[in-house]
Symmetry: C2
Subunit: 156 residues, 2 copies
């Protein structure tokens, strides 16, 4: 029995071969990772799911994930671990609670963005109006000129 067994082999108290397929996904220093995933999905379901990934990737559906590219194997177990952790923490809603919360955040951000853009459009129109229309001061200056019988050529 190896002294550096992976978390799965350690959990099942079995020998961990040098080419153990679980070893890269479940290192011995993080036994919690396998405990979580095992508690929610069960070891045989994890094996089945990883086999499905092999099929999806058009790889030989070996009994276990030897043909799956390493980064996909690790990503799959990462995402299973994430979901399992949330299911343990939030037994009723799990990850779906996060998804609902994120949808609400997006809705709020998009509403605020729509408001900010409407305000920007309004202000842009105001800036243009303020630059092209005579101001109250200008209007009074024109009035003074007219009152004094001057022909104001600058404001036709």
């Amino acid at each position: 029995m190896s002294s550096t067994r992976c978390a799965v082999c350690k959990y099942f108290r079995r020998r961990c071969p040098s080419d153990c397929v679980f070893a890269p996904c479940f290192p011995p220093d993080n036994p919690q990772r396998f405990t979580c995933v095992h508690r929610i999905y069960g070891a045989s379901n994890i094996g089945k799911m990883l086999e499905v990934i092999n099929l999806e990737c058009n790889l030989v559906p070996l009994s276990i994930l030897t043909e799956l590219p390493m980064h996909l194997r690790v990503d799959a177990v990462d995402s299973l671990y994430y979901e399992a952790k949330w299911r343990i923490q939030e037994p009723v809603y799990g990850c779906v609670g996060i998804i609902s919360s994120l949808h609400r955040q997006i809705h709020i951000a998009q509403t605020q963005l729509a408001k900010a853009r409407a305000e920007t459009a309004f202000l842009r129109a105001n800036v243009v109006a303020a630059k092209t229309m005579p101001s109250s001061g200008e209007f009074m200056a024109q009035q003074n000129s007219i009152d004094n019988g001057l022909d104001d050529q600058s404001n036709p």
Copy 2:
């Protein structure tokens, strides 16, 4: 054997009692709901998870979810079904893929919001400046008044 067995009892080809705890969560007209959940979690894990919810709610941990309020039972199975469906559709990332995508959407919306707010602040300052500073037309009107020796009382 009842002719209106729930999807779980139908799946296991067993009698569905009138007080079957699975019946409200797995109606017979949606067998896919149980098939999905069963494929990812396994029936015994679903039972265990629902039992955990009983414990979380400080209810008597009966062997199965008889003490859990109905809406929480249905919500729990709804969220398990949602996660299972996504895991079948996206075997590597499952629900976590949606969460990553929503985080990206929030980041984009917040960046756009920050830009829109900065533009709003800039435009507001412009509107104030345009309203308080004399415009080129006004400046020329003032110049005309001065050139004509008039005391323009409207622009001190």
